[in-house]
């Protein structure tokens, strides 16, 4: 009986004035300030997304980054695909340890001088999966939270310095743009990568609609593997038999053929070589870079 009276006596959380010793709100606010300070010298942020896996987002990201760098711009790439990181390999980053300073971690330097931060730089081997310490059961309960924190730290703790462009290579999933938007509410723009198939179009549409709902400016979309580039005759043939449809109100930035040489050179960490002067695909990538620059110049003027 006595305990019932005691329980009734308890005030509610909001009736007890003052904060808590943990001050979780204060800790989160301090994190947000740290992230904001870090990115204050980054002029433009661009998310490369698709929603669908296997469409070539990372290959496009690596080539777009080095194409922008080739124009004399300072470029960084954040590999937001924590569980399938590829940017370090695609940008030809070596295996030197990353220097940890008082306030930040120096990014790796990849092809064309592009600054790179990727989970791939931290793992034991290229084949090692990401595993987190903690109970082995029900990892779904906490894994996502750790991953978001890792992404936040990659953004906030990397010594990006002054950048003209920070490209964010997102993993598959239509919700990923929302996660990045939570961290970067002022995300400058998004580019969608798709394949010329109805299935891809449907899934990529989800990401584009999500971006619109969030108010993220959509720069345009890239149709990858839009045809097969024959290495013998340099002619492009179709890769998919379905009729292609675009996305309402979203500009097509470029179509990229399935180009074995381009893909092979990029996979080997030589995106600049992949876009040789005679490369049809290389020209298309340079068109994407030009469109991105125009998008921001128009927006800023």
């Amino acid at each position: 009986m006595g305990s019932l009276i005691d329980v009734k006596k308890a005030r509610t959380y909001s009736q007890v004035p003052g904060g808590t010793a943990s001050d979780i709100g204060g800790q989160l606010a301090a994190r947000a300030r740290r992230l904001e300070r870090r990115l204050s010298d980054v002029r433009r942020t661009v998310a490369i997304m698709s929603g669908k896996g296997g469409v070539g987002k990372s290959v496009v990201t690596a080539n777009l980054a080095t194409a922008l760098a080739a124009d004399g711009l300072s470029v960084g790439v954040l590999d937001a695909d924590l569980n399938g990181p590829s940017m370090a390999k695609l940008l030809g980053v070596g295996d030197s340890p990353l220097a940890v300073g008082e306030e930040s971690v120096e990014p790796a330097i990849g092809a064309g001088g592009v600054k790179v931060m990727s989970m791939g730089l931290l793992l034991q081997t290229a084949e090692t999966p990401v595993t987190w310490s903690g109970p082995r059961s029900d990892t779904f309960l906490w894994r996502g939270s750790l991953e978001m924190n890792a992404l936040r730290e990659f953004l906030a703790d990397t010594a990006w310095g002054r950048l003209d462009y920070l490209l964010l290579d997102l993993p598959p999933g239509a919700d990923r743009i929302a996660s990045i938007h939570d961290l970067l509410p002022n995300l400058g723009g998004a580019i969608a990568i798709t394949l010329p198939s109805e299935l891809s179009r449907e899934i990529v549409s989800k990401s584009l609609n999500m971006a619109r709902e969030l108010g993220v400016p959509v720069i345009g979309y890239v149709e990858n593997m839009s045809g097969y580039l024959c290495p013998h005759c340099n002619e492009v043939g179709p890769t998919f038999v379905t009729e292609r449809e675009g996305f309402d109100g979203v500009p097509l930035l470029a179509t990229l053929p399935f180009d074995p040489r381009f893909g092979g050179e990029t996979d080997a960490g030589r995106p600049d070589a992949a876009r040789g002067p005679d490369s049809l695909t290389g020209r298309a990538v340079r068109e994407i870079a030009a469109s991105v620059k125009r998008f921001f110049e128009d927006d800023e003027s």
């Binding site: 308890a10 931290l122 793992l123 081997t125 987190w132 310490s133 906490w142 939270s145 703790d157």
Partner: protein, 145 residues
């Protein structure tokens, strides 16, 4: 989360946080009026849920370290992936303190070294000994490191 002493109708204050190696968490609170102590005990799953938020229960007592949650929680990190660029300078380390530090997994060792170093430097301590490490890790909430 607030803890209220019902007898005094006063908010209790966190006085100690312990995270033993078994993955559990113990946070002790004291009533500022009657000095009554209560302990909040969390099992390993509950502790992990809180850990995954990467916030410090009881408040932050050290400046944030770069990549601190990645380095604290990533199990499959490579030992040589990160290099402490601030390793030189600061308080000296006793031999047994160095030996204990060497048992910390390589991926987080640099960060843990720096936490001890900063804690000792702030208190004007010239040499980091086992006793200093014990005091620091209790204060910083880095039990097990």
């Amino acid at each position: 989360m607030k803890f209220l002493c019902l007898d005094c109708d006063a908010q209790m204050a966190s006085v100690d946080t312990a995270a033993p190696d078994d993955g559990t968490l113990t946070v002790t609170f004291r009533c500022p009026n009657c000095d009554r102590l209560v302990a909040m005990l969390a099992n390993s799953m509950e502790t992990q849920m809180v850990n995954s938020l990467c916030v410090d229960v009881g408040g932050r007592s050290a400046a944030p370290q770069p990549f601190e949650s990645v380095r604290s929680h990533l199990e499959s990190g490579a030992e040589g992936a990160l290099r402490d660029a601030t390793a030189d300078g600061g308080p000296a380390w006793s031999r047994d303190a160095e030996q204990r530090l060497a048992r910390v997994p390589g991926f987080v060792r640099g960060m843990v070294r720096r936490l001890y170093k900063e804690w000792a430097a702030e208190r004007g301590i010239d040499e980091i000994t086992l006793q200093v490490m014990d005091e620091a890790r209790s204060d910083l909430g880095i039990e097990g490191m």
